[in-house]
């Protein structure tokens, strides 16, 4: 390479890396660029990492679950990383990878410059490891007390969007299948739901809020509990899609009808939504943007900057067939939701 352009390798390096403020004759620059192109020259990543003490790589940690959410997050992060000349590793939490990779392989040996934490259990631990060996970290839609390194959705407004839509369909008895209380996303979605009910002048009924676990089986149980109440709801907001999928199967077990007797909206979208029975109405969250912004922050912010950002991306109501105008209640008074 050095000789192809007839210049020293240090010149090639500075041209290749776009060294700002590097003074070079236009003709020389052109010659360098041309011969790197012709030779298909790629700087060796190992040499570069070693010398520059920078790996140009990030690691994204996602939970064990094979949720479609995380394929979106991964894509968003990948694209953003590549754009900036970084490479993106992805590790899932359980299942061996993080156990083995977490501290030993990935974190400690200079293979990554930063960590995107979208996982569930290990995030705190990994954050602390990162801190100790000074690798910058960023929580992705996770928020941990006392750690000012996160970027989150406006989870509350996702729940609000769902309630708004149901209220517009004249529902007054809108229940909520919540996520696990220790998940920050879950509590913010829940409070968004409560506030939205209030704004519409609807009653907040504790028995209409069922805590579940973000999993299908839990969603099914929650729905069955709701429908066996003296006053069952006419609509349900599920805190995530897995709960909603479970709820849909719970509906069939108790013999209710969606959307005739019960409307369901899930927070987060999923690819199979169109093929569920009935197709599921969802609130689609800007997952790619979240991840992309996370990568951007990792490249631009210092490792000890405080980052507490609420992403202002567009949430989209995906109207499908699990929601409908509230049915006339079969109560003696013939009273109807206003």
């Amino acid at each position: 390479m050095l000789h192809a352009a007839g210049v020293d390798r240090s010149i090639v390096s500075r041209v290749t890396n776009g060294d700002p403020g590097f003074a070079i004759r236009a003709e020389t620059r052109a010659r360098v660029i041309e011969s790197t192109r012709v030779l298909g020259y790629q700087p060796n990543a190992a040499a570069r990492s070693l010398r520059a003490a920078q790996a140009r790589a990030f690691d994204l940690i996602i939970p064990n679950c094979a949720s479609p959410i995380y394929t979106e997050v991964t894509k968003g992060a990948e694209e953003a990383a590549i754009q900036r000349g970084f490479v993106l590793f992805t590790a899932s939490e359980k299942e061996g990878s993080l156990g083995a990779l977490g501290q030993t392989e990935i974190l400690g040996n200079g293979r990554v410059d930063g960590l995107l934490l979208a996982g569930a259990n290990s995030t705190n631990y990994v954050h602390n490891v990162g801190k100790r060996i000074s690798i910058s970290t960023l929580f992705l839609n996770r928020r941990v007390r006392g750690i000012q390194r996160f970027i989150i959705f406006n989870n509350a407004s996702a729940a609000r969007l769902a309630v708004d839509y149901l209220a517009e369909l004249s529902h007054r008895l809108i229940a909520y299948i919540a996520g696990p209380p220790d998940a920050g996303t879950a509590s913010r979605r829940l409070s968004g739901y409560v506030k939205a009910l209030r704004r519409h002048g609807l009653p907040v009924n504790c028995s209409h809020i069922v805590t579940a676990d973000y999993l299908p089986a839990g969603g099914a149980r929650a729905l069955e509990a709701l429908m066996s109440l003296p006053t069952p709801p006419t609509a349900v907001v599920a805190a995530n899609t897995a709960s909603a999928v479970g709820a849909l199967s719970g509906v069939r077990r108790v013999g209710a009808c969606v959307p005739e007797r019960l409307s369901i909206v899930a927070i987060h979208d999923l690819e199979l939504a169109d093929y569920l029975v009935p197709p599921l109405t969802t609130i689609k969250m800007p997952l790619r943007e979240l991840a992309a912004r996370g990568v951007e922050l990792l490249t631009t912010a210092n490792a000890d900057d405080q980052i507490a950002e609420v992403l202002d991306g567009e949430m989209k109501l995906m109207r499908r067939e699990s929601t409908a105008e509230v049915a006339d209640l079969e109560q003696p008074s013939g009273e109807k939701g206003r």
Copy 2:
């Protein structure tokens, strides 16, 4: 590090790497191991890669689609890689990553030692790039004319398993929703289906074989076509789960009943199978084993060895509710499948 154990760093290196045939006093070795442990020493990956001309990393290329299949493949590959002290990158085909990463970032600059090709479109191209710059490649359940570097399932016997089960349920009119003709997996599954029919003495009816595209919409169309035939089938084997999900929705559109009038089996399992309507019977393939074996081959075989392996892992029939004994046909003769 050098001084903590009171030995030269070259000793540490040879101990750490388990250099075979390295003669060292047991006491010295113990001292080295103890101080690496105490210090939490991790060799710098960049320095090591540079010196050893080996990155200890593989790259797995999967298709664009966010299919649950590939999360399994990824996990299997990750685990196997880690076990061998390698790291696993994953890149999806479209969506930017491979476009940018494929040749330039990942392949050319020494970040990876080998490529696992599970993608659809780009695999040939990437294989050729790998060959040119001598990075070893291996196709994962893909087979390309003239390239002896692959490991595949016994795709034919997956289809056979499905047919066997349906025949056991006394079905005689077993249709097939095939994958795209240019996919090798698809043609081997199809021929497995045909052979299995013959073995059971069942007629092979061309109109009962519909070519689709491995996607839900195609599966739905294929099913509608099958059910509008003069002699519709009583059972269908779908070449993959996406087709089957589509078929299930097609069933509802034409007003058929699963499993009362039509049984459906899909090749490959999916997490949501229990929550489809009805829960989908599947043939679960040993995806993790496939990927793990792929990694093993990449570490043990030479870059120019011929590899043409058929994985002998267990395929598992997941009986759910989309299959049932064939119903009495409402034909005048009352004839029944034997």
